[in-house]
């Protein structure tokens, strides 16, 4: 790790990197030509609909599809019996360990249904209306069981058990008693009891957060066609075409080469369309094979809420001790996360997540975190942008803020006194690489927002610091050079945040040509090498490196072609900013396009290839500042001003980085003030729609000001760091700290609705 962070990126006068070109996919999206998951229509296409459980927890006694089978307009009906029985095999296929039996059961229930909306069967018919009517004719006999939807209640003895034989998995002694606690992890650093003994002030509180959904406006949708050539083609909205294809190969017991997944445009995903649990595609494929016709399956908004993959609600305790001078001596936390119907909440990940990143912004000598993954009768959870960390940040940054108040210190100054730096050890044994935690806090402290005093009754300013570790993983990119000097770039990364453009910009920088000479597109599983899903804030970093590698490969080959043309040795040809030069007896020069024009005479096509799995990516910090006004009579919160300060490494395309900062912040604001799954006592969700599951509307938020701090990220030629996920981490805590300063009371449960604020103020 170099000492002087600023010099990592080397030259800083780039031609393309750092500019704001228009987005490749914008014209099609603006004119309605862009094709999303539900926009693929094929001749003879049928419409598929799932038959879903009305019960949160029940055993399936029988499924009778006879009446549906012979309903006019129905062409196929499938249940779990149509899929090979999955033994307990484990699929560490791509980025997460998933037990394949769970994958099968979640797709189509076998013995038990574990949440309202759990699929039990599916029908394919001539229209979506006929399919809906036919789905009602599939008769399912259930033995209803008691349900549990609260994470604490699920851990109490005698709670209904979702998986009768499941024992808590942990590195400690194996437990003998079945339990809803799927796993327990413990991270320890130093000696917490000694640390707390040294503290002058200790704050400990309990916190809860609700189950929340990624809320993408596009429901899940796909079209599948199992042709008579035994090839399955699937058009679907997914974050990862390859992960989808590999899971389909296993679920359908069908060779990967006979499955082609074509990723459509994605109408928002945020971790909710990662190919971990497969909702529609395998069932649509099987319906298509049975009916021998293409089948389109779409979800209603209610199905998206009830039966896809929200992110974990949590019950948490946090305790932090600090000396009178403001030095944190110890931190401790207990985290109980909802896994949903099947184990796998994001309490820990290969590099951190909830437990690992909770106190990552700080240098804490002694700490312990116990985290529990708890199954409940709700849909299985998935990532929602920096999975697990927004939940864990909510307690951490409120307790830290309360300590600053106790010590009478400015909240940013107190955080700077304990800020983590390169080499600081986390409470999990790993240590920070090159990070910008300090730079971000200082930029926030000197920002226009923080320097403008806020006054007036029931007004408050809150601050919170957040961290996400980002990710690398496997990416593929090819660059083919055309005779006119333009190039066609294909990468395997689905484009969620403008990465078709940011990846091409990095290639253009290497090739020394302008961006409009590059056609950048997203490949399907037949046209590019294996590429991990777009997620983990990895794409501009890892697929960027793949593009840079491919571009360098192109230049190497073109140097050979120029040498051949000039009759010199390869090594005599140099390349800089798009110009090939040789000094053999007088200067020889050709620009990129000229060499491209000679390819047919010097050996044919030139295609550069970049298949990479880059390591050593850098994590990112964000400091958010929120000014709020609370109406003391109704408890309603208005956001007066909101600023996101974030270490962005090197902003390849500043507008898209701002877009990630603003979009992540407003998602965090919704998480903090408005959003949450609500349940009745039978375990039914009572707000599965955009009317009562309230995501922020335009008048709910002000302009989101952005301050980009560029501390170059390690192991990337231009210093790129992931930027997509950290902005969702701080908002709930920043708002809670602001509300506390406005009304003098801490609100420790999410969402911080007007009713909850009135209760905290003792008004109702």
């Amino acid at each position: 790790m170099s000492k002087d962070k600023r010099s990592i990126a080397g030259t800083t006068d780039y031609q393309v990197v750092g500019t704001r070109p228009p987005r490749y996919d914008a014209p099609d999206k603006l004119t309605g030509r862009a094709l999303f998951g539900a926009d693929t229509n094929l001749p003879g296409m049928l419409y598929g609909k799932m038959v879903r459980s009305p019960h949160a927890h029940a055993r399936i006694r029988s499924i009778d599809t006879h009446r549906a089978d012979c309903y006019p307009g129905v062409y196929a009906v499938v249940t779990a019996q149509d899929f090979r029985w999955a033994e307990d095999s484990n699929a560490d296929l791509d980025e997460s360990a998933v037990n394949f039996r769970y994958l099968h059961e979640n797709m189509l229930a076998q013995e038990k249904v574990l949440y309202v909306g759990h699929p039990v069967a599916a029908v394919a018919a001539s229209s979506v209306h006929v399919a809906e009517e036919a789905a009602k004719l599939v008769e399912v006999q259930y033995d209803v069981l008691p349900a549990v939807t609260d994470v604490r209640a699920a851990t109490e003895p005698g709670a209904p058990l979702l998986h009768e034989q499941m024992m808590t998995q942990s590195l400690s002694k194996p437990s003998q008693m079945p339990s809803n606690i799927a796993s327990h992890i413990q991270l320890v650093k130093g000696d917490p009891s000694q640390g707390f003994a040294q503290a002058d002030v200790i704050v400990e509180r309990e916190f809860t957060t609700s189950t929340v959904h990624q809320g993408y406006i596009e429901p899940h949708a796909c079209t599948a066609w199992w042709g008579l050539d035994d090839n399955l083609t699937v058009w679907t909205t997914t974050q990862g075409a390859f992960g989808m294809r590999d899971k389909l190969a296993k679920l359908l017991d069908h060779p990967m080469s006979s499955i082609r997944v074509i990723p459509t445009e994605v109408g928002g995903a945020f971790g909710g369309k990662l190919p971990i649990f497969i909702f529609l595609e395998a069932v649509a494929g099987l319906l298509s094979r049975k009916a021998n016709r293409p089948v389109k399956m779409t979800m209603t908004r209610a199905e998206v809420f009830l039966a896809t993959n929200p992110t974990s609600g949590a019950y948490m305790k946090a305790k932090v001790g600090v000396t009178r001078e403001g030095r944190i001596t110890a931190a401790q936390a207990e985290l109980y996360f909802e896994a949903g119907a099947y184990p796998g909440s994001h309490i820990i990940g290969y590099s951190g997540f909830a437990a690992g990143f909770m106190f990552a912004p700080y240098d804490i000598p002694h700490g312990q975190i116990d985290a529990y993954d708890v199954v409940v009768n709700k849909p299985r959870t998935a990532a929602y942008r920096a999975p697990g960390v927004t939940q864990a940040n909510f307690p951490a940054e409120q307790v830290i803020d309360e300590l600053a108040v106790h010590l009478g210190m400015d909240p940013i100054t107190f955080r700077l006194k304990n800020v983590a730096r390169e080499g600081t050890g986390l409470i999990d044994g790993a240590s920070h690489g090159s990070i910008g935690a300090e730079e971000v806090l200082r930029a926030a402290q000197s920002s226009a927002h923080y320097s403008t005093p806020l006054s007036g009754p029931y007004r408050g300013r809150g601050v919170a610091q957040g961290y996400w570790g980002n990710w690398g993983a496997r990416s593929s990119c090819t660059i083919s050079v055309n005779g006119d000097g333009t190039v066609s770039l294909v990468s395997g990364s689905v484009d969620l945040s403008g990465t078709r453009t940011t990846v091409a910009m990095q290639a253009a920088e290497v090739l020394g040509i302008s961006l409009d000479r590059i056609k950048s597109s997203v490949g399907d599983t037949d046209s590019i090498g294996y590429t991990e899903a777009s997620g983990g804030s990895r794409t501009t970093f890892a697929t960027g490196i793949a593009a840079i590698t491919a571009a360098r490969d192109v230049i190497a080959q073109m140097r050979g072609r120029a040498a051949l043309w000039w009759g010199v040795q390869d090594q005599d040809v140099t390349f800089d900013r798009g110009i090939f030069t040789a000094h053999q007896g007088g200067d020889l020069q050709m620009i990129f396009a000229e060499v491209a024009g000679k390819l047919s005479e010097t050996g044919g096509a030139v295609t550069g290839v970049g298949n990479v799995d880059p390591q050593g990516w850098g994590g990112a910090f964000g400091t958010h500042i929120a000014d709020v006004q609370v109406d003391p009579e109704t408890g309603k919160v208005d956001i007066l001003r909101y600023t996101v300060v974030q270490d962005v490494g090197k902003a390849i395309h500043p507008s898209y980085v701002e877009g990630q900062m603003q979009g992540g912040a407003v998602q965090g604001i919704g998480w903090g003030l408005y959003e949450g799954y609500q349940y009745n006592t039978q375990g039914d969700m009572i707000n599965p729609g955009f009317l009562d599951y309230k995501i922020p509307t335009m008048p709910d938020v002000p302009m989101i000001e952005t301050v980009m701090v560029e501390v170059p990220g390690p192991n990337h030629p231009y210093g790129v760091r992931g930027v997509g996920e950290v902005p969702i981490v701080p908002p709930p805590a920043a708002l809670a700290n602001a509300i506390c300063r406005a009304i003098g009371v801490r609100v420790t449960g999410l969402p911080m609705t007007p009713a909850r604020i009135l209760e905290a103020m003792g008004v109702i």
Binding site: N90, D92, D94, E95, S96, A97, N99, Q169, S170, L171, S172, K173, P174, S183, H184, I185, Q186, L187, V188, G271, L274, I276, G344, H346, I348, G349, Y350, S351, F353, Q368, A383, R385, A386, P387, D428, G429, A430, W468, W471, A473, E532, A533, G535, G536, S537, D613, Q615, E725
Partner: protein, 87 residues
């Protein structure tokens, strides 16, 4: 001799030690070495001879893509972590 980081939950087997030096050229050999000194470790880390589901191993802060077959250097730092990624 590679240095193995012992997760806090396994320190009941290593009498509270958080770091144990073991010789071995691959992760599998390191685990056998650990088992010899502190019996019971193997049962916690392996299921049917493979890494337990949801457990992964990192060597010198990099994820060991070859798992049990991953080479381990003389001064390597070996760590067993729960696995979950993506976001």
């Amino acid at each position: 001799m590679a240095a193995v980081w012992i997760s806090s939950l396994m320190r009941d087997l290593t009498a509270g030690q958080d770091r144990v030096r073991v010789s071995g050229a691959t992760v599998a050999e390191v685990i056998d070495g650990l088992e010899a000194i502190h019996p019971g470790v193997k049962e916690r880390l392996l299921v049917k001879g493979q890494l337990a589901p949801g457990i992964m191993v990192s060597v010198d802060d990099k994820r060991a893509l070859r798992g049990l077959q991953e080479q381990v250097g003389g001064e390597s730092d070996v760590r067993f972590l729960p696995l979950m990624a993506g976001g």
